[in-house]
Symmetry: C2
Subunit: 169 residues, 2 copies
């Protein structure tokens, strides 16, 4: 039986599909850029960052981690031709609130020792200072051995209380 969440998903999607007019869009992003941002529920990248359908890749993970996004960034750039990156972290991020030890302890408690053992080497990638984390991730994308010097990379902070962005680097 469908959950309330699944029912909402199907119903809202049926409404969306009934008015959908953009089935002609091409696979590669029309404006050749990508955004890396957080999975946080308070961020709507299309609306907040002015992304029209078909214009840009949007990668989202816990904390807007560039390292965690590496596979997707390479696919976007190498195979689908994007030439610019906006990295956007945000105020009040969950990744500022715990340590790897906290996460491991919760994992062991809720899913047991085998689960903990399965991700022994996993870095949950929490961070302690927001602006420093933005700078470090931009450096990773711009200066590492994987970087392409022809690709513009900027780093930003989105404020979940005001809806505004601020450039860090």
């Amino acid at each position: 039986m469908a959950t309330e969440i699944q029912k909402n998903f199907k119903e809202k999607n049926a409404q969306y599909a009934s008015q959908f007019t953009q089935g002609h869009l091409a696979l590669p992003p029309a404006k050749k850029y990508l955004i890396v941002t957080c999975m946080d529920a308070r961020i709507d990248p299309s609306a907040a960052f002015g992304v029209d359908l078909g214009d840009a890749h949007i990668i989202r993970n816990a904390g807007a981690s560039a390292r965690d996004a590496l596979r997707s960034v390479l696919v976007s750039q190498l195979l689908l031709g994007t030439r610019e990156v906006l990295l956007v972290k945000h105020t009040g991020c969950g990744m500022l609130t715990f340590s790897n030890a906290d996460a491991r302890s919760l994992l062991a408690q809720s899913r047991g020792a085998a689960a903990l053992d399965a991700v022994r080497d996993l870095d949950f990638l929490p961070f302690g200072d927001l602006d420093d984390a933005v700078r470090e991730d931009v450096r990773f994308l711009k200066e590492g051995e994987l970087a392409d010097r022809g690709i513009a990379v900027t780093g930003w902070v989105y404020d979940v209380q005001t809806g505004g962005v601020r450039q860090v680097v």
Copy 2:
């Protein structure tokens, strides 16, 4: 000097922030669910999947890979209390169009041997059959040693030509 993409980002965001009224939303997703979907430019999850601001985590990567999303999924469930997952891949996905060998070859061509060497062990996670890939990812989230049997996981395909979704599992 700012690029056109950076100017558009700042201008559209300033408009968004000037009308923003949801600064009160809490960090944990109000509806306690998460969506894993693709970074594809033709997908607007908030609109297409009926997600109101503050309701759900949205994780996006190349191909909507559950394996690649593991860190974020664990953070969402262990630290921020989500209890349901919708995994949504889509028709016309770029990940259906290349092999690991193709990606490595492009990487070596455009960024040199040191770059290729730096990601020697990276699996770009392309796939050959869409529905099979959905089923495999749902299995990974539901049945692996990291799974929590109390968390509902369903798998879907979004059609980029019609805007509609179809449940696979």
